[in-house]
């Protein structure tokens, strides 16, 4: 009886150890993969928002010291005097300017609109904390093209992703 136990126990321990090692490896791979998904998603989110906002901009302002890109838009508000579908004589069409800003401070990208608090777009994800290592907007006034380079690093997998893109701003006046 003791002999059988003496053979079975080390076998069992070895098997359990192997199982635990494989399980830990799978858990680790899953963690890395999740962190990479978060990293990709955040880069894509920031760039697609930025491009979408840039397309219709009237002016583009870029600051180098704290990487910032700001867009302004010309919008109008109509003050109605009569209850009608069409614009009547007494109605006032007032020009309004709207501003949207993307700022990179302290390893994060923040988005700012008028009258709203500054919102972080990246970082603070439980599954994959990320940090911005490079955010470089460049605007070419002659061709009206905005070049954007964004590099981010995952603090969990230590993987880096760097994406450069450009957007043509047809209505830009600056």
């Amino acid at each position: 009886m003791f002999a059988e136990f003496a053979i079975a126990l080390p076998l069992l321990i070895l098997l359990m150890y192997g199982l635990a090692a494989v399980g830990m490896k799978i858990f680790y791979l899953g963690k890395i993969q999740l962190a990479d998904y978060v990293l990709e998603e955040e880069v894509h989110d920031v760039l697609s928002r930025l491009i979408y906002d840039a397309r219709a901009a009237k002016t583009v302002t870029i600051s180098k010291s704290i990487p910032t890109v700001a867009f302004t838009y010309r919008t109008t508000t109509i003050i109605w005097t009569k209850f009608s579908r069409a614009i009547a004589d007494g109605d006032v069409i007032a020009d309004k300017e709207e501003k949207r800003t993307y700022i990179s401070i302290a390893d994060k990208i923040y988005y700012e609109r008028e009258d709203t608090p500054v919102n972080p777009l990246t970082g603070d994800n439980y599954f994959g904390s990320t940090k911005v290592t490079e955010f470089k907007p460049e605007f070419d006034t002659t061709t009206k093209i905005l070049h954007v380079t964004l590099e981010m690093e995952s603090e969990i997998s230590r993987h880096k992703i760097k994406i450069s893109t450009a957007v043509y701003i047809p209505g830009c006046e600056s």
Binding site: D36, E40, L47, I161, T165, Y168, P170
Partner: protein, 133 residues
């Protein structure tokens, strides 16, 4: 009294079950490993943004009156190390005109790359208006 002869079968069964579980775990592991080594998704994202860059360049020139189909992406943007374990990957950008209607031209941009001997590509289309006086 408990006899070890009765428990021998259970012990064998345990060994069989544990082996099965371990092999299943190994199978899952084998499936996960190539996905980490071959991160096509991140490269596809890079390629889509490269195609957008090419479109932006073409639109800018089209606003001045010419449709330029050559590769106009910045040369430093054509090489990436995204998720590729430090191995740089080169993209090639080719664009051709698919159809045109008046001064509206439909252009297809194809961005291609190779990872671990596998070819992959992304193809995007956009209609561009060439401004003529």
């Amino acid at each position: 009294m408990n006899r070890i002869d009765n428990e021998r079968g259970f012990m064998l069964l345990n060994v069989v079950f544990l082996t099965l579980i371990t092999s299943f775990a190994a199978m899952i592991l084998m499936n996960a490993a190539p996905r980490l080594k071959n991160p096509q998704a991140a490269l596809r994202l890079t390629a889509i943004h490269l195609a957008n860059e090419q479109f932006a360049m073409m639109e800018s020139k089209a606003a001045a009156g010419t449709l330029d189909l050559s590769c106009q992406v910045k040369p430093e943007d054509l090489t990436t190390k995204n998720f590729s374990e430090g191995v740089p990957i080169n993209f090639t950008v080719t664009s051709n005109e698919k159809s045109s209607n008046g001064n509206l031209h439909t252009v297809a941009v194809e961005v291609a790359w190779t990872v671990n001997g596998q070819d992959a590509s992304v193809k995007l289309e956009r209609t561009i208006r060439v401004v003529t006086d």
